[in-house]
Amino acid sequence: MRIAVVGAGPAGVRAVQTLVAAGHRPAWLDEAPDGGGRIYQRPPAALNRDAKMLYGFEAKRATALHDTLDAMKPRTDWRPDTFVWHIRPGVKRLQTLHRGVQAVVDYDAVLLCTGAMDRVVPVPGWTLPGVTTMGAAQIALKTQGCGIGSRVAFLGSGPLLWLVAYQYARAGADVVAVLDTTSFATKARAAFGLLRGGATFAKGLYYIGWLRAHGIRIDEGVTPVAIEGAGSGVTGLDWRDARGRAQRVDCDAVGIGWGLRPEAQLADLAGIPFRFDAIQHNWVPERDLAGRTSVEGHYLAGDGAGIGGAEVAELAGARAALALLQDAGAAVDAAEAARLDRALTAAGRFRVALERASPYPAHLAAGLPDDTILCRCEGLRVGELRAAAAEEYPAGRAPEMNRAKAFTRTGMGRCQGRVCGAAAAEILAAALGVPVDAIGRLRGQPPVKPIPIVAPPAEAVP
């Protein structure tokens, strides 16, 4: 049986480990030069900080995952630096690109563990050099030993806000402000549910406490106003505090982020139906607890199947591999499957509390000024999308996201709406006066990221 696993983050590693233990030798592909995924991404070889320095409290989990990753490489058809740019569920074929050369991987069953990226809300001035996602700020530090600037402000909500600010301050960066768009009251209301999270919750409190103890400026319940800049850089950040007063800080870099959204383009191309998850406030591919989908032979695990975090990704990867084996007629350890199901269910409850403690600020997107750049790829402004809801085009109005895309090009740029999609949906929904789940979602297109047109076709490869 030919099995393919896309992604070598926490979900992919545990999935492959389970498949290999059952005697399989899956094809295993990741576009990164090495495995580890986002949280446990390894720096290039020339950098040599140890795991404790790189991953902090997560060092033990990181080392354990890396050990398994390295042990699995020789026991699989391991293909790093290999980007899966298309999936064709009918013929069960992946189309890949490795160092400029195209190839195909045929499978009987595939497990997609494609992870997530930052979810952002545009802020006036957010295209200035010096503004990055929260995750990008972390990647710069973790994999390159660099801060995104010398005086850094962080703006957003959710666990990464506090974690990345803490990591920066610990590394000796000047963290000039940590601005949470969620109010203290909202977080306090969710606190009871968060207690289920045990260690995860405790770590979060530790980061916040540490930042406070070190006198770092923290403001909660803020409304971003603008990122200011001159020439090729950021000079400051303006916001209104919870009482509506104007505030400002001088800075040369800003990290922004409001949780994560699934990188689910391959699941989309595989024909897996999506649903709007109101708690996560994300469109997610439909699957059961074990990672089965309605498309035969196609399984999902990890953040790409709905945001759950790294520990959940490990559990879900192992569980989806068991489901795949079971469906292929293999005898699997039922007790282990049941244990994973229980752990996933419990983790799901904690996730709900976490999402409630840092809800996506839909009102901020809906309330953006008309002249704010919405689509970074093509420089489209918020007002252009709003106009699509009001204007009568020859083909009618834009009652949903894909019509709006056709009329305005929102989401048609080279990132395919990964960056602006979440906010664009809020803006259109607000302009139309309908709930955000009523206007649909941007559909994925191959290639899921731009590939050079010069890449020779698969047929030319021996």
Binding site: E31, R38, P43, P44, A45, A46, L47, N48, R49, M53, M117, D118, T127, L128, P129, G130, V131, T132, T133, G135, A136, I139, A140, L141, Q144, G145, C146, G147, I148, G149, S150, A171, G172, A173, G231, S232, G233, V234, D252, A253, E263, I373, R376, C377, E378, G379, G413, R414, C415, R418, V419, K449, P450, P452, V454
Partner: protein
Amino acid sequence: MKLRRLRDAGRPRILLTLEGEALEAQAGDTLLTALLAGGAGHLRDSEFGDGPRAGFCLMGACQDCWVVVEGQGRVRACATLAEDGMRVKRG
């Protein structure tokens, strides 16, 4: 935008050029790090006239960090390792 080297900053030096000008970086830098820690300020200008850009996601997703490397064509600066002798142009 100027990246600030905080950790692991004593690596072997490598030399690149940006638009013909010499630029010093460190082994293990991505092109994005090499250029933005080396004082380039930005990576490209938006083709829609709304100003300079310097990447956004650092994980190969946003496509905002395109530069041109002689002999390789257009690459994502955040996902390409800098190598000694590379000749780079803004994207």
